[in-house]
Amino acid sequence: MTSASWGLRIAAFLCIFFLHFPLFIIVLYAFTTDDKTYAFPPPGLTLHWFTVAAGRADIWAALWLSVQTALLATAIALVLGTMVAAAMYKAKFWGKESITLLFILPIALPGIVTGIALLSTIRRVNLEPGVLTMVIGHATFCIVTVFNNVVARLRRLSQSQLEASADLGADSWQTFRFVVLPSISTALLAGGLLSFALSFDEVIVTTFTAGTDQTLPIWFLNELFRPRDRPITNVVALFVIAVTLIPILLVQRLTQAGEDLHGGGKTS
């Protein structure tokens, strides 16, 4: 390893600065006293808007709906994603590649395609858009996240352990319960956390499947298009960043150097 030239080093640091500076601005603006414009530098700093935001019933309702949706979607994704991973990690069979493609498709196609496709079906079968349709939509793109995490872990699981378990007289349920499950538990946790973060922050599929329900990202989107409560939006922005980053940092600790985080199914 030779040392990097100054030009390369500066380019790398500038890139990181470019990626992080806007996040820093969000933190700063949550404390600004300015409530009419986006003036920089902020005329003063205050904690006032945190109390105002905490007193807003619409924000709490939106937050609660987001949490419910994310939990339900994650639960479905955990079950289905693990099943696919268990079926696919070592078996070779005809059509395997097509199945992989099928599960990747919701994140390879733009969210808007998934959104409008689900909406057209909701309309066709006369379903009322709401929590149920949102959960269905979110689970669909969360499955691949769980799958990615679990399948990576299963591939590292040594076959000799499974054989040893069978040789010692365990049936396949016991092998699953006492050998496989403990060794994929952190992968399940990581996949679940990522799914939660993905669903909690999702807005594009949500706008098509939510009907009149308001999740936190939809509340935020409305403020983005038609700003009414700028200072409160600033506070919510800081809060949303914190909520989505905590699971990511946890996953980073659970997996080796975030290997399963790469892309991780995170698209908008």
Partner: protein, 302 residues
């Protein structure tokens, strides 16, 4: 029960495989593929001229509208060009930092740099767009920066340029371009970094031993080997720009993008057939792009 089931499964691995695969396949097959097929069907319907309701009779009228109306063709063109420019810019910006991460960091410091790139990627998309609204606003920090340096005239001059300029940064294509590059850049950095990691060091050594100058090694050996990584990253940047409707709505000039058209047609206009027809455009473009990317080896680099 479970015991007995696992007894039945013993010696019949295909049965277990089938039982595991059926529920997820039913979910994806019915809900997702079913919806996509339904979407395709909708693009062959049209609104009734008199009632404004959807007529469930196959017709090519809606698809024809997509290709013949000049404003619709403009929308497709505008979105395509933006996606292409954003992808190129992301690749150019991502390469130096990916190179740095691949060849000049290791162990814990590499993990830390990867985390630095991942954190913005995983923080809320909406909040990151909002941050740029703060940055680009007329009274925002970028204007302040130009003012403080006393070079306000440079910014004003940039804004008078045709096409990319506008009333302010937040209502110009330049501003929109910056936001797109910002939100998708990490998707380009990571696959390029991964493909650089896979380049055998001995190959670079051999190249220089055989007398190649550093820039010859770069252009003739290193760059061709990273094409799969660039192709993999560009799938994301291209596809995500192509379908986005939020960034063009919040920041940028008034011209519509494909995503916005899909959104407004299904919403206020109630014209799901036209929305469906518009959403076929990204599907087709990305389908072609994926086929191309596959030839460049992008799938091995994902």
């Amino acid at each position: 029960m479970i015991r007995r089931a696992s007894g039945v499964l013993h010696g019949r691995p295909w049965l277990g495989l089938l039982l595991l695969l059926i529920p997820p396949l039913l979910w994806m097959g019915i809900i997702y593929m079913g919806s996509l097929v339904n979407l395709l069907l909708y693009s062959f319907y049209a609104l009734d001229d008199f009632t404004g309701q959807i007529k469930f009779e196959p017709t090519l009228a809606t698809l024809q509208q997509l290709f013949t109306s000049s404003s619709n063709v403009d929308i497709v063109q505008r979105t395509f060009v933006m996606s292409l420019v954003v992808t190129i810019a992301c690749a150019l910006l991502a390469f130096p930092i990916a190179y740095f991460m691949a060849f000049h960091t290791k162990g814990n410091s590499k993990a830390f740099w990867i985390l630095l790139v991942l954190l913005p990627l995983w923080s809320s998309y909406l909040v990151r767009v909002y941050a740029w609204k703060l940055l680009l606003a007329k009274e925002g920090i970028i204007s302040w920066f130009f003012d403080t340096l006393g070079i306000r005239f440079v910014l004003d001059w940039i804004l008078t340029l045709p096409i990319i300029g506008g009333f302010s940064l937040s209502s110009s294509y330049l501003g929109m371009f910056l936001v797109f590059v910002y939100v998708w850049l990490p998707y380009m950095i990571l696959p390029i970094q991964a493909s650089l990691e896979r380049v055998p060091k001995s190959l670079l050594q051999a190249s220089s031993d055989l007398g190649a100058k550093p820039n010859q090694t770069f252009w003739k050996v290193l760059l061709p080997l990273t094409v799969p990584g660039i192709a993999a990253g560009s799938i994301f940047t291209f596809s995500l720009t192509l379908g986005d409707y939020i960034i063009p709505g919040v920041i940028g000039a008034p011209g519509f993008f494909i995503g916005q058209m899909v959104y407004t047609q299904q919403g206020t206009a109630g014209n799901i057939p036209l929305a469906a027809a518009f959403s076929l455009v990204p599907i087709v473009i990305i389908g072609l792009y994926l086929a191309l990317a596959k030839r460049w080896g992008a799938f091995d680099a994902l």
